[in-house]
């Protein structure tokens, strides 16, 4: 029966993809192959894209990772402005404000920090950052987010008129752990689907 045959073919493909993802280094090769190169050079501003925070304002690990990367870039004197993005939940403290407070604790002066708390998608982030930085004559930016997200974020910020220097904020993933390989593959697949959606919608 054709239905059984289709199910078996889909099942076979699923099993092959699962075993390849979990038990071989293929996800790491894919990640290395697709990851954008870090382009660290002096720019007009550092833009740290939003990740997530709890309703109480506690930053997620991904958010802290990006924030740390942004602070390190500022510490190296690569840009005079540090822009943090990220909204809040249920009227609570915003992610961007939490990041700004964290940066001030690290010795970054308040005058160098800008926040944007209303954007809800990467596309909206590009539009809002354009509105925020255009009056300050910012042309070039160091764009901080994870590698997989950069594929979608970079063209959006370029479209907004910025000269973008990508700065991936990735962490080390143990290539020997099947669980981490699966998580890596999942992350790559999600961002690929997101990129396809943005491409179909004409945002890229």
């Amino acid at each position: 029966m054709i239905w059984d045959y289709v199910c078996r073919c889909v099942g076979f493909a699923g099993v092959v993809i699962f075993i390849t993802s979990a038990l071989t280094p293929v996800p790491h090769f894919l990640d290395k192959w697709t990851a954008p190169r870090s382009e660290i050079e002096p720019s007009d501003a550092i833009v740290v894209l939003g990740a997530s925070a709890s309703a109480g304002g506690i930053l997620s690990p991904e958010s802290i990772l990006r924030t740390d990367r942004g602070i390190a870039l500022y510490g190296q004197g690569l840009a005079p402005l540090l822009v943090f993005l990220g909204g809040g939940k249920e009227g609570g403290p915003t992610e961007a404000d939490g990041r700004a407070a964290f940066a001030r604790l690290q010795g970054i002066p308040s005058s160098a920090i800008l926040t944007e708390t209303t954007a809800r998608t990467t596309r909206e982030e590009a539009i809002r950052v354009k509105a925020l930085l255009q009056p300050k004559a910012v042309r070039s930016i160091l764009l901080v987010t994870n590698s997989a997200h950069l594929h979608k974020a970079r063209p959006l910020f370029e479209r907004a008129g910025f000269e973008v220097h990508a700065v991936p904020s990735d962490i080390y993933v143990d290539p020997g752990k099947p669980e981490e390989r699966l998580a890596l593959m999942r992350g790559l697949s999600e961002e690929f689907v997101g990129w396809v959606y943005y491409w179909i919608a004409g945002y890229l």
Binding site: V6, G11, L23, G176, P178, R181, Y197
Partner: protein, 108 residues
């Protein structure tokens, strides 16, 4: 190293289960091939359910965004629980089909 350890162990327990089935439970080698096919069918139907669920979830999120003022992040679809729930749906559907095609399982 961990991947090799896990895969070796799973191969060993699978071989053990095969011989246990043949010698103790008197299962036949011929039906083992059919069982593998059924396993692939179950995985396939689970994946089909997962794709249907995710497409429905994304469509719902996009519809809510366009039809209401409520903003729902597309990342609500990002959850490993879809796999487990799709597995339950897939196995139930698969067994439903099996029992409908082969009435001898009905217990009558």
């Amino acid at each position: 190293m961990r991947a090799i350890f896990i895969s070796t162990l799973v191969v060993l327990t699978s071989v053990g289960a095969y011989f246990f089935g043949i010698r103790r439970l008197r299962l036949t080698g011929r039906t083992f091939g059919i069982a593998l096919g059924k396993m692939l069918e179950s995985v396939g139907i689970t994946l089909i359910f997962m794709v249907v669920n995710l497409v429905a979830a994304v469509a719902t999120v996009l519809a809510m965004r366009s039809l209401t003022t409520t903003f729902v992040s597309i990342y609500v679809t990002d959850d490993v629980v879809w796999v487990g729930l799709s597995l339950l749906q897939g196995l139930t559907f698969q067994w439903w089909r099996e029992l409908s095609v082969k009435p001898r399982y009905s217990g009558q």
